[in-house]
């Protein structure tokens, strides 16, 4: 049995390593300074991906800027203020359910609300808002878990020193939960970086350099998708994939470091 399981483990790890190896083998040659900092030409068949990197950063940054305060605020309410009961359980079940909804559904919703109804068109603003909605359930859940893990003794200790509930939360509870909250944020960031369908539906796929929140933009994931499906440049598709994977890995590494820091006594 042990032999079978170890063979399985080796195979799976090998497959994952092979995936990375393929990206490196087919894409590494194209990842140059000119590629990273250059403007694309001929629909991405040549040139670089600078506008794509900028669009990705703005879109994902905007999404986090929206999702973190909203999600953390909601989690604080659910965990610290709301009386346990049907309403809270209902809200919690709803966020759990939303976490399982396929991202394309969020894309469709964002398309009809932000792109059409609010008239933001295909834009970074529409994309960020849609991504934010998609990330909210994750942010809420990880924040709630981090808050729930704060020992009761710390809240009571703060209260016993004359702290009001908000002072106890702001100065002790959040400090204690910070690494958990940050980890959730970083996981959300990873998800946002990789999202394709919902972004394509709401931010469009324009290759130009964005000039305002209402500019359309093309993220790395979308760029990769289009390069590959349109058969524009296999090498550049792999190179983009490599940059994207590097970004996601960096984000996950950061999450692990943060978690390790949080577990320090």
């Amino acid at each position: 049995m042990k032999a079978i399981l170890s063979a399985l483990a080796v195979t799976v790890t090998g497959l994952l390593a092979g995936l990375l190896g393929l990206l490196v083998r087919k894409g590494a040659a194209f990842v140059t300074v000119d590629f990273l900092l250059g403007l694309p030409a001929r629909a991405g068949q040549s040139g670089g991906i600078l506008p794509v990197l900028v669009s990705t950063g703005l879109l994902v940054g905007g999404a986090l800027l929206l999702a973190l305060p909203l999600g953390a605020g909601t989690a604080l309410y659910l965990q610290e203020y709301a009386r346990p009961g049907r309403l809270v359980e209902g809200l919690r079940a709803l966020t759990e359910a939303l976490a399982g909804v396929p991202s394309i559904i969020f894309g469709l919703f964002g398309f009809s609300l932000f792109v059409i109804r609010l008239g933001w068109g295909w834009s970074l603003a529409s994309g960020s808002a849609t991504l934010a909605l998609m990330l909210l359930p994750t942010v809420i859940r990880t924040t709630e878990e981090a808050l729930a893990a704060v020992p009761r003794e710390l809240r009571e200790g703060a209260a016993a020193l004359g702290a009001t509930r908000w002072e106890a939360i702001r100065r002790v509870v959040l400090k204690s939960a910070a690494s958990g909250v940050l980890t959730g944020a970083v996981l959300a960031l990873g998800r946002a970086l990789g999202e394709t369908a919902a972004v394509l539906l709401t931010a469009g796929s324009d290759l130009g350099m964005p000039t305002s929140p209402l500019s359309p933009g093309r993220t790395m994931a979308v760029h990769l998708y289009i390069l590959a499906t349109e058969g524009l440049s296999e090498g550049r598709a792999y190179a983009t994939a490599l940059v994207l994977v590097a970004a996601v890995l960096a984000v996950n590494l950061a999450a692990n470091l943060l978690m390790a820091r949080g577990q320090r006594p």
Binding site: E156, G157, A159, A160, L161, G162, R171, V172
Partner: protein
Amino acid sequence: MTDIKLQTVDLRVCYGRTEALKGVSLAMPDRAVTALIGPSGCGKSTFLRALNRMHDVAGGTRVSGRVLLDGQDAARLAPEELRCRVGMVFQRPNPFPMSIAENAGFGPSLFGVRGRELARIVAESLKRAALWPEVKGRLHADARSLSGGQQQRLCIARALALQPEVLLMDEPCSALDPAATEAVEELIAQLRREIAVVIVTHSMAQARRVAGQVARFQAGRLAEVGPADIVLDRCQF
């Protein structure tokens, strides 16, 4: 007879339908230690936590009866003000995830004390808690890097920083080794010259060492109260 600092009148606490404290009236003198003893689940910690309205924090409890601080109804004070005047030290050391100095100064900093004044209070309370010599060179180290006994004395320093009139201690030595226990007991012996101390303890020996008055609880009621020697000599458990 010394002055009465803290007094309860028919204090009752219910957790849901269970009545954990069934009407306790007890007077606790100033500048003296009152030890609360009795078997587990007899209501002594529940009683202690009612004295600074700690039950309000967790919720799910109903408290009735009165707590009088200097003869004044504690229910009329804002809970934050009451807790500044009646400090509390918990069973397990619970330092906040911040530096030693920030822990010790936490209470005063809530009320806007800053800078040099705060540093003075921090040093003074650490000295009162007999922790100063051990930590003066590393005030900005994480408080959780201290040993258990040091953490508990830091928690005492933190409570003392607010200049409380009463200090409630919920089995403060139960998580400590004998040497650390001795240090905390010496501290209590100091404190009883200045303020009222109410301590829950499982140890008869500790009650005998530190307390002037002993109150024995039994099944949510006050079974017996009197001078430490008399009550403890009668106890057979």
